[in-house]
C-alpha cells in the first residue's frame, strides 16, 4: 500500500541524527570549510564512539541480512533508513558527513562484490578499535564517467596481485590509505583485451608498500572531506584481495561497478536533499523573521516573486526526495532500480544545485556573506550533481532504459 509516513521509531531515530547534525557538525562547519586540510579529530572520535549513530551511517548494505533477525518476515528497509539518516546528517554538513569514519564507498564495494568471508574479514574492523575509513578508487586522470576505461592494471604474480596505475578523486582516500587502519578498494583490469569484463575490485590495505597518496585536492566545497590522488607502483597485495571471482566473464566485473552505483546513487541523492533542506530551512526561518508570509492556497497570480521562488524550491526538493525514497525502497524490496536510482540522482543533484543557488539570491547580501552558511551550502551542493555519475551520465542511463537502447545504440 502506498505510504509516505515514517513510523514513530524512525522519527525518533532521525531526531537523534538531527541532534548530531546540530550539535556536532554545524558548530565546526564554517571552520572546517575555511581550513580545508585541518582534521577535526575530536569530531572523528565522537562519531566513532557514537556507535549507535555510526551503525547506520555506513553506506551500502548486506543483501543477505534481514534488518531484524527476530522477525524474519519483516521487510528489508536498510536503504530507506540510510537515505533518511543521510539527509539528516547532510543537513548538518555534507563534507563532515563524507569525512565521518566508516567503511564508506569501499565498504559498499565489499558488500556488493565480496564473498561472505571477505565481508567479515574486511569490515569487522569498523566495529572495533580506533576510527577507520574505507574508500573506493575508480576514476583516473584520463577518464571520469567512462569507468570502463580503467587503465590501472592488476597482474597476477605468484601469490600476489600487483597493481600499477594512478587513481584520482578518491573520497576519504588519505584517511583510508595512510591515516587509519582502513583500506581502499581499487578497480583495476586483469585483462585489458577483455574490456569491461576484465575490470575487478581489489582491496588494498592501508600503508601497503607501493600505494602512495600523491595529492589532496583543494575544492569548491565539501572541504572537510579529503579527496585524494593515489598512485600504485608495483603494489603487491595478497591473492584473496580480489573481491568476488578473478574469472573474466562477459558482463562480469563491470556489473559489480554498476550494482554499486544502484546502491550509492540514492544515497548521494539523499546527501543533496540534506544540503538543500538546510538552505530551505534557513530561508524559511529568515522570511519568517522578516514577516514575509508564504501563502499556500491563494491564487498563483497573487503570489509574490519571493513566495513563488520559495514554493518552487520546496516542491523541487520534495519531488527529489520522493524519487530518492522510491529508488531506495526498490533496492530494499529486491526490485531492479538502475533507472530509478539514476532518476533520483539526476533530479536531486540538479534540484539542490538550483535550490541552494536560489537561496543565496533570496537572502541578498546576507546570502553571499560568509557570516552565514548558505553560500557554503551552495558550494557543497554542486558536488552532488557531479560525483557518483554526473547529471549527464545519469541522463544517458535514464534515456537508455526508457528507450530500451544498449550503450552501443545510445552513447
Amino acid at each position: 500500500m502506498i505510504d509516505f509516513e515514517l513510523e514513530p521509531q524512525v522519527v525518533n531515530q532521525l531526531k537523534m541524527y538531527h541532534m548530531v547534525s546540530e550539535q556536532m557538525m554545524r558548530p565546526i562547519s564554517r571552520d572546517c570549510d575555511e581550513h580545508e586540510h585541518q582534521k577535526p579529530t575530536q569530531f572523528y572520535e565522537s562519531m566513532w564512539s557514537a556507535s549507535a549513530a555510526a551503525s547506520n551511517i555506513q553506506i551500502g548494505h548486506d543483501k543477505s541480512k534481514k534488518d531484524d533477525p527476530s522477525k524474519p518476515s519483516a521487510p528489508r528497509r536498510a536503504t530507506v533508513l540510510t537515505v533518511l539518516s543521510t539527509e539528516e546528517l547532510c543537513w548538518g554538513d555534507a563534507g563532515l558527513y563524507l569525512s565521518t569514519p566508516n567503511s564508506g564507498l569501499g565498504g559498499a564495494a565489499v558488500m556488493a562484490a565480496g564473498t561472505p568471508e571477505q565481508k567479515e574479514h574486511f569490515l569487522k574492523r569498523f566495529k572495533e578499535g580506533k576510527p577507520k575509513w574505507g574508500a573506493m578508487a575508480i576514476t583516473e586522470p584520463s577518464f571520469g564517467s567512462d569507468s570502463s576505461a580503467v587503465a590501472t592494471t592488476a597482474t597476477r604474480d605468484g601469490d600476489n596481485w600487483v597493481l600499477d596505475g594512478n587513481k584520482i578523486f578518491v573520497t576519504a582516500g588519505q584517511m583510508s590509505a595512510e591515516k587509519s587502519e582502513g583500506f581502499v578498494v581499487v578497480w583495476a583490469t586483469v585483462d585489458k583485451s577483455a574490456g569491461r569484463a576484465g575490470i575487478k575490485p581489489f582491496v588494498v590495505e592501508h600503508n601497503t608498500p607501493g600505494m602512495t597518496v600523491t595529492r589532496v585536492e583543494n575544492k569548491l566545497g565539501i572541504r572537510a572531506s579529503d579527496t585524494a590522488a593515489i598512485t600504485f607502483d608495483n603494489c603487491r597485495i595478497p591473492l584473496d584481495s580480489i573481491l568476488g571471482s578473478a574469472e573474466v566473464r562477459k558482463e562480469g566485473g563491470f556489473k559489480d561497478v554498476m550494482a554499486t552505483f544502484d546502491a550509492t546513487r540514492p544515497i548521494v541523492a539523499a546527501m543533496a536533499l540534506g544540503v538543500g533542506r538546510a538552505a530551505l530551512d534557513f530561508v524559511r526561518d529568515f522570511l519568517k523573521q522578516e514577516n514575509v508570509a508564504i501563502r499556500y492556497g491563494i491564487s498563483p497570480r497573487r503570489l509574490t516573486a519571493v513566495e513563488r521562488d520559495f514554493m518552487e524550491m520546496e516542491a523541487q526538493l520534495q519531488a527529489a526526495r520522493l524519487l530518492t525514497w522510491r529508488a531506495a525502497w526498490m533496492l530494499d524490496t529486491g526490485k531492479r532500480n538502475s533507472l530509478e536510482a539514476s532518476m533520483a540522482k539526476a533530479k536531486a543533484g540538479l534540484a539542490v544545485t538550483q535550490i541552494t543557488q536560489k537561496a543565496v539570491e533570496l537572502l541578498g547580501p546576507l546570502g553571499y556573506s560568509r557570516k552565514v552558511l548558505v553560500e557554503k551550502w551552495m558550494r557543497d551542493a554542486k558536488i552532488n550533481d557531479i560525483f557518483e555519475g554526473t547529471q549527464q551520465i545519469n541522463m544517458i542511463i535514464i534515456a537508455r532504459r526508457i528507450l530500451n537502447y544498449s550503450s552501443k545504440e545510445l552513447n
Binding site: M1, F4, Y296, G297, A315, R326
Partner: protein, 369 residues
C-alpha cells in the same frame, strides 16, 4: 512506513481503467476535440466503471466504496492519459455528488444521491472558478447573503463543466469573506432556478471537447436546506485539496500520453540514417520528461495520501498541482518539439495535449477524487 506498491485492488483498477483509456477514450479524443462533442455511448460506458456511483452509499443504491484519494489519483491519471476533456466530462457528476456524500446532511443525501446510483450518466456539476485573472479560492467574489430563512447568491462563475446539461449544480460562495476558506459554503442550485443565467458554451484554447459555461447569479434565492451540510457547512479547503489532487493526477496522465507518443515516434523517425532517439539532443529531452512524470506523480500521490490520512493536504496539494501545471506544460511542449514540424500538425495528438496541458494553470475545482 514508506511503501510505493499499489494494493492489488489498485493495480486492477489501474489496469482496467488504463485499458479503457487507451483503447476507447484515446481514439475518440481527436474527433471530440475537433467537433466539440463527446459520443454519448462512450460516456455511458465510462459510467459503468462506477467512477461516481461506486462512492454512493449502499442505502442509496451505490457501491458504498470507501473513498481513497490515492485510488482516485490512480483513476484520474489513467483517464487523463486517454483524454483530458473526456476525463473531466465523465467525472463531472462527482463535483456535485461527492461533497454531498462527504459533507451533506442526511436529508440532502437522501434527496440527491439516488440519481447517481442509476444505470445512466447523471449530469451534475459545481461552479467554483470566477472570471477574474486573480480569482482566489480563499477569497471568492460570489457572495451568499442570509435572507430570512435562506440565502441570496450574487456574482459570476466560469468554467462550469456541463452547466447547461446538468439538473443540479453546486455553487460555492462566500458567506463570510473575512474567513477565507472557512467562510465559503456550497449551495445546491437546481436547473432553472430563478436568477441563474447560463452563457453560451465557452470557447477555449484547449479542453475543446468539454462543455463549459459561464454562470451568472443575480439575486438567486435558495432555501436554508440548500446549504450543503446545513449549519455545519462544508470544509471547502479540503474539497479544493481533493480537487487539486484530481487535477494533478489528470495532468500526470496527459504528460504520460505525450511522453509515450514522443518516445515511440523518436524510435521510428530517422534522421541522418539513424533513429532520432539515438541522438542525445532528443534522448535527453525524453529522459527529462520521464523524470518529471515520475516526480509529479509522486507529489500527487503524497498529497492524496495526506488527505486519506485525514490531513488537510492544503500545502501538499497546492504545491503538487502547481508543479503539475508547470511540468505538464513543459513535458507536452517537449512532446511537440520531439516531433518537430509534424508535432505542429493536427494529424498528431501532441499539439492537442500541449493546448490541454496549458489549462492546468487556469483551472481549479473542476474535477475531484
Amino acid at each position: 512506513m514508506i511503501d510505493f506498491e499499489l494494493s492489488e485492488e489498485q493495480q486492477m483498477i489501474r489496469d482496467s481503467v488504463g485499458a479503457f483509456a487507451r483503447d476507447e477514450i484515446r481514439p475518440a479524443a481527436r474527433p471530440a476535440d475537433e467537433s466539440g462533442a463527446i459520443p454519448a455511448p462512450l460516456v455511458a460506458k465510462a459510467w459503468q466503471f462506477g467512477f461516481v456511483s461506486g462512492a454512493i452509499p449502499e442505502k442509496f443504491g451505490g457501491g458504498g466504496d470507501a473513498r481513497s484519494a490515492v485510488t482516485g489519483a490512480i483513476v484520474a491519471e489513467e483517464l487523463g492519459f486517454g483524454d483530458l476533456s473526456i476525463a473531466i466530462h465523465v467525472l463531472a457528476p462527482r463535483l456535485f455528488a461527492f461533497p454531498i456524500v462527504e459533507m451533506g446532511t442526511d436529508d440532502q443525501r437522501a434527496k440527491y444521491l439516488k440519481r447517481f446510483a442509476g444505470a445512466d450518466f447523471a449530469a451534475a456539476t459545481a461552479a467554483v472558478m470566477e472570471p477574474r485573472f486573480d480569482y482566489d479560492l480563499s477569497a471568492l467574489q460570489v457572495s451568499a447573503k442570509r435572507d430570512g430563512g435562506g440565502f441570496v447568491l450574487n456574482g459570476g462563475k466560469c468554467y462550469v463543466p456541463l452547466a447547461a446539461e446538468s439538473d443540479l449544480m453546486l455553487v460555492y460562495a462566500a458567506t463570510d469573506a473575512a474567513k477565507g476558506f472557512a467562510g465559503v459554503d456550497g449551495f445546491i442550485v437546481p436547473r432553472g432556478a430563478a436568477g441563474v443565467t447560463i452563457s453560451e458554451r465557452e470557447k477555449n484554447m484547449g479542453l475543446k471537447a468539454l462543455a463549459t459555461y459561464e454562470v451568472t447569479l443575480k439575486d438567486c434565492r435558495v432555501g436554508a436546506d440548500a446549504r450543503v451540510g446545513g449549519d455545519k457547512g462544508i470544509d471547502f479547503s479540503r474539497l479544493m485539496s481533493q480537487s487539486r489532487v484530481a487535477l494533478g493526477a489528470l495532468g500526470v496522465g496527459v504528460m504520460n500520453a505525450a511522453f509515450e507518443y514522443a518516445r515511440d515516434y523518436a524510435k521510428e523517425r530517422k534522421a541522418f540514417g539513424v533513429p532520432i532517439a539515438t541522438k542525445q539532443a532528443i534522448a535527453f529531452i525524453l529522459a527529462d520528461m520521464a523524470i518529471e512524470i515520475d516526480a509529479a506523480r509522486l507529489l500527487v500521490w503524497e498529497a492524496a495520501f495526506k488527505l486519506d490520512k485525514g490531513g488537510d493536504g492544503l500545502k501538499e496539494s497546492y504545491l503538487a498541482k502547481n508543479y503539475v501545471a508547470q511540468s505538464a506544460l513543459k513535458v507536452t511542449d517537449n512532446g511537440v518539439q520531439v516531433l518537430g514540424g509534424h508535432g505542429y500538425i493536427r494529424e498528431h495528438p501532441v499539439e492537442m495535449w500541449l493546448r490541454n496541458a496549458r489549462g492546468f494553470s487556469a483551472i481549479d475545482g473542476i474535477a475531484t477524487v
